[in-house]
């Protein structure tokens, strides 16, 4: 039964993708129905896996010695992320019914979204490092194809290729990790690797550990690979919500959390993870403070929030990171989809042209504000509980400097969130008139808004599930009562709330702060170049292109030179052979 559910959660979206393509773009209505139907069924299947979570492989198909077995293990981490992927995926598809209505090539859109959902569920559930890498790459492929869905727009194409290449570059880290695990243990099974980790030579293990961090940073858009995520905002907004906020970008956090027991003792690794998280959280928050594009604002905020999760893993708070992952998936999907309905209605992403849209779109305004409160981390919404849990773990087990910086990040988060809300909804009526969201849009927004209020109540069963199915992680159950008493009793909570209030106040009384009337020039410049990383990217691209241009000169097109190449080759081969003996 469990095996069937797993196959359904992964297979239904894939089959749905094929069916949508087969239905054809001439029957748009049917395409909507098929996409919603298959994604909803997959979500139901994935939710049904949760109560049966366990640490043993429910599915195992042998692929031979070089690939290992395709195993699916519905443990706490996997089943939970698969559920998030399919449920948010379903809501994004429902939202698309309105958002993508009348768009050309709907078949390609829905197919790719559905393949993505299937691949993401498989990525979460598999316990084989080879297949983890395989599904990791498939999600990257779908992400690329959907970012550049509007292929006629050069920015969309550039954004898609950039995302693909950066995540693939990081993927080499995961590749090396999987290959090294196989070379050391003779198996691709994660559980085998985790058990054998203490006996793996320290050098190899640290290469693997940093390989995992590289892969995670690229996938989760963390420093220094965060540059692709803002550019990925050219994708249709439901895709941004699903792939670039709620699911795929979490894969990096998931990877770190899953392999944490093996790498926790690698010298310097936890500090490196904390550092990546802190730097990402802070610089992304700073960039968000001056953003004027609504989707880029949310993208920066995603990088920043993912930074909190990375920080949590580095500080040893594996459960806290996953708990925040859940909250973030819900409230950020809500924010993105709400932003999507505004953009769909106004036809612009520029926040300076949106002022006053709140009056025309009251429903969207209300749910957006709910999401914003969760993002700031105010009680009683889910973002409050999970962020406080992270900060508490950070204070107890992480370095002090990191905690202080993360507190500053909380203030910045409050500042940019309030700034965004007031620019979009409450400044002078500047822009064109919009219409409120359609029925399908409201359905998914409403469900996510309710989720923002209630998902933190799942803490008990969620933590019990993880504690029971992940013995090597050393987790323990945390009931709602314990969570409430821990959070309300901890000084960390009041520090964080104070920081958030400072941030809110800074926006409220910005006119009284000297020099804060205008965005500081250095910050704008730093944002423009993504704190120098964008410049570095460009330098690398130019260098590669120049190398290509230089080599092109060797292809002279003249036979004499070609023959000379042969003679040169003979000498080179003789030298290599003489050297190799």
């Amino acid at each position: 039964m469990l095996a069937i559910l797993i196959w359904l959660a992964i297979g239904l979206p894939v089959v749905g993708g094929l069916v949508v393509a087969f239905v054809g773009d001439s029957r748009e209505k049917l395409q909507h129905v098929v996409a919603v139907g298959f994604s909803a069924a997959a979500a139901v299947a994935a939710l049904a896996i949760l109560p049966q979570a366990g640490a043993d492989a429910a599915v195992s198909v042998s692929f031979g010695p070089m690939f290992g077995d395709l195993t699916f293990v519905p443990d706490g981490l996997g089943a939970f992320l698969a559920a998030v992927a399919t449920v948010v995926g379903c809501l994004a598809v429902v939202f698309s019914v309105d958002y993508m209505a009348g768009e050309a090539e709907l078949g390609r859109y829905y197919s790719l979204v559905l393949y993505f959902i299937g691949a993401m569920a498989a990525l979460a559930l598999t316990s084989n490092l080879f297949f983890l890498f395989l599904f990791w790459e498939i999600t990257a492929l779908c992400s690329y194809a959907l970012i550049s869905f509007y292929n006629d727009d050069p920015k969309a194409v550039a954004g898609g290729i950039k995302a693909l290449i950066i995540t693939q570059f990081g993927g080499v880290g995961l590749l090396a990790l999987a290959l090294a695990a196989y070379a050391q243990t003779g198996s691709f099974e994660i559980s085998t690797f985790l058990a054998a980790a203490p006996s793996i030579p320290a050098v190899v293990l640290s290469v693997m550990a940093y390989g995992a961090l590289l892969a995670a940073a690229a996938k989760s858009a963390q420093f220094p690979f965060h540059t692709w995520l803002p550019d990925a905002m050219e994708a249709p907004t439901p895709v941004s919500a699903l792939i670039h906020a709620a699911t795929m970008v979490n894969a990096g956090i998931y990877l770190l959390a899953r392999l944490y027991p093996a790498f926790a003792d690698v010298p310097g690794w936890r500090t490196a993870v904390v550092l990546v998280g802190v730097v990402s959280a802070l610089i992304a928050a700073l960039m968000a403070v001056v953003a004027t594009d609504l989707k880029r604002l949310l993208a920066y905020s995603t990088v920043s929030q993912l930074g909190y999760m990375v920080y949590a893993v580095g500080a040893g708070g594996v459960f806290a990171s996953q708990f925040h992952l859940l909250s973030h998936a819900v409230f950020k999907a809500l924010l993105f989809l709400a932003a999507g309905s505004i953009i769909h209605s106004l036809g612009t992403r520029d926040m300076r042209k949106m002022g006053g849209v709140g009056r025309q779109m009251p429903f969207v305004r209300n749910v957006f504000i709910i999401g914003a409160i969760a993002l700031i981390g105010l009680p009683p919404l889910n973002g409050f509980w999970s962020k406080e849990l992270i900060l508490e773990e950070g204070l107890l087990h992480g370095p002090g400097w990191a905690y202080a910086l993360m507190l500053a990040g909380v203030a910045l988060t409050a500042l940019y969130t309030l700034r965004g809300v007031s620019m979009v909804f409450f400044s002078e009526d500047a822009g064109p008139h919009g219409h409120d969201a359609g029925r399908a849009m409201k359905t998914s927004l409403g469900i996510l808004a309710v989720g923002t209020f209630v998902t933190w109540l799942l803490v008990g069963s969620f933590s019990r599930m993880m504690a029971e199915t992940l013995p090597l992680h050393g987790l323990h159950e945390l009931t709602i009562a314990q969570l409430a008493s821990e959070i309300s009793g901890a000084p960390a909570t009041y520090l964080a709330l104070g920081a958030a209030l400072i941030g809110l106040a800074a926006w409220q009384w910005r006119r009284r702060i000297p020099g804060a009337q205008q965005s500081p020039g250095w910050l704008l410049a730093a944002t423009e170049s993504s704190f120098g990383l964008e410049t570095a990217n460009r330098l690398i691209v130019t260098a590669v292109q120049k190398a290509g241009a230089f080599l092109q000169r060797t292809q002279t097109g003249q036979l004499n030179w070609n023959v000379a190449g042969l003679a040169f080759g003979l000498i080179a081969v003789l030298i290599i052979l003489a050297w190799s003996v």
Binding site: N151, L164, V172, A176, G557, N562, G569, S580
Partner: protein
């Protein structure tokens, strides 16, 4: 004694090639469509019939192991490697003959075209079975001669002639180099047979010198850098079906020839061959990618990408030789098969778009170079061809769930199993090269899915079914084997063990 199926497999194409030629010549000069269709059908029939002895030989091999055929001094051996090469040659050959029907329809010279394709297929099959150095050279040269004719098939096209001249001259030098190498071996040992040579003891300097000569000689055909300069010209100028064959199987046949001879030049120098192949692999991967990165013409880009894919094959086999990892040989040969499928598909799809764009007139005297910007919007007019091209190039870029991902993976696994830092570093380098290659593959996919069609696409003619079926077969293969690599294990496992055995693994 009943006729051995292996004999039929090797010699049937060589008998049928002139038959097809004469059949086509029966009606002189005029080429009404029904004639070219008849010649095409006859050629297709020959290719189809050739599968019968092939399948019988595979069965015989499965039961009895390697099959040895002796004719006086000369002997041929059908082993795993022979069957693998024959499968790729036959499969691509059959599909290309099918595919070429529309291109050759009503055109002069079709009988030459088909008979050359059949002869080339036969030569490649024979090359895989050769069991002595000289015999190997004869098959190799036969393959080269038939491919010269095909590269300059558009003999009124100046650029095709230019490419043909470069190809012929460079290949001929390579061929002489091989001969000198054979003469040296023969002079030192008095033997040319593989078994005798494998047992012979040659001094290390001689082995290295002869190995270098063979590497250069066969390396021209394999397009090892810096002997590669003819390849982008010839592969881009040949008719598209021929480009598919040249990239998909001819360069690989050269690789098999090189491996056969290096395999018998054993002794203490064995690891040196591994090192040599791995160094050449690194150079080929990087240079091929950097050169492809800046190409504007689709077929030229694909030709350069073949350089880098040869690098992956060399890497896998180099690992197998250097570290004694049979998995590397399997991986390298798997990549040979998967590259044949993907690159064949890419060239066929590009050729279909060229055919569509050049219109019904199909004037072959000028080079209708399909540029990257000509790909714009292909998906709206030719959805299937665009999908096929996308799948081919994404597979070449190593993305799952396509076959290129699986074959590269297998090579990488073997590399890490070697437990050597240098080899592991080389594997990481190869993986980074795959990432780099996406920088030129991905824009092709983006281009075909644009909404605004290019002039070439907008004015294109419909594509005949005879072009689409071969593409459909290859597309399915690229996906199916990508999902389930075991589909080709019957080919690559025996071939891998034969190769490993030759290198003492």
């Amino acid at each position: 004694m009943s006729v051995n199926s292996a004999v039929v497999m090797i010699f049937l194409p060589l008998i049928m090639a002139p038959v097809i030629y004469l059949f086509g010549r029966a009606v002189e000069k005029t080429r009404p469509e029904w004639i070219t269709t008849a010649v095409n059908s006859a050629a297709l029939l020959v290719m189809a019939v050739m599968w019968i002895p092939y399948v019988l030989t595979v069965r015989q091999f499965a039961v009895n192991g390697p099959i040895e055929l002796v004719y006086g001094e000369v002997s041929l051996v059908v082993d795993g490697v022979s069957l693998l090469l024959a499968a790729v040659a036959l499969a691509l050959g059959t599909l290309v003959v099918f595919y070429s029907k529309a291109q050759m329809s009503g055109k002069l010279g079709d009988e030459k075209y088909y008979s050359s394709v059949i002869a080339m297929t036969g030569m490649i099959i024979g090359l895989g079975c050769a069991n002595d150095l000289f015999n190997l050279w004869v098959w190799f040269e036969g393959m080269a001669v038939s491919s010269y004719l095909l590269v300059v098939f558009y003999r009124d096209r100046p650029s095709a002639l230019e490419a043909g001249v470069k190809y012929l001259v460079q290949s001929a030098i390579g061929s002489v180099t091989v001969l000198i190498g054979i003469a040296l071996v023969f002079a030192y040992t008095g033997e040319v047979g593989f078994e005798a040579l494998a047992a012979a003891n040659l001094a290390t300097p001689v082995l290295l010198g002869v190995g270098a000569l063979f590497t250069i000689g066969f390396g021209v055909k394999i397009a090892l850098v810096p002997m590669h300069t003819w390849l982008p010209d010839a592969h881009a100028q040949a008719p598209s079906g021929i480009s598919a064959l040249l990239s998909g199987v001819v360069i690989e046949a050269g690789l098999i020839a090189l491996l056969r001879v290096l395999g018998v030049l054993s002794g203490d120098v064995m690891p040196s061959w591994g090192v040599l192949l791995m160094v050449l692999a690194a150079v080929n991967m990087l240079l091929g990618n950097l050169m492809a990165l800046r190409q504007k013409q689709v077929k030229r880009l694909l030709a350069y990408s073949s350089l880098s894919h040869v690098g992956y094959m060399l890497l896998g086999i180099g690992i197998a030789i250097y570290a004694g990892q049979p998995g590397g040989a399997q991986g390298g040969l798997f990549h040979l098969v998967s590259h044949g499928m993907m690159k064949g598909l890419a060239f066929l799809a590009a050729g279909a778009l060229i055919y569509a764009a050049s219109g019904a007139s199909h004037d072959t005297s000028q080079d209708h170079g399909l540029t990257l910007s000509d790909l714009d919007g292909a998906a709206r007019r030719y959805p299937f061809t665009a999908l096929a091209l996308s799948i081919a190039v994404l597979g070449l870029g190593g993305l799952p769930p396509l076959v290129g991902f699986m074959s590269k993976w297998q090579i990488f696994v073997a590399g890490f199993e070697a437990q050597s830092v240098a080899v592991a570093a080389l594997v990481v380098f190869a993986a980074l090269n795959s990432v780099l290659s996406l920088a030129y593959y991905a824009p092709m996919v983006n281009a075909v899915y644009r909404r605004q069609p290019s002039a070439a696409i907008a004015g294109g003619v419909d594509l005949p079914v005879s072009m689409q079926i071969p593409m459909a077969v290859l597309t399915l293969a690229v996906i199916a084997v990508g999902f389930w690599p075991r589909l080709v294990y019957w080919l690559i496992v025996p071939a891998g063990s034969a190769l490993s055995a030759a290198f003492g693994g």
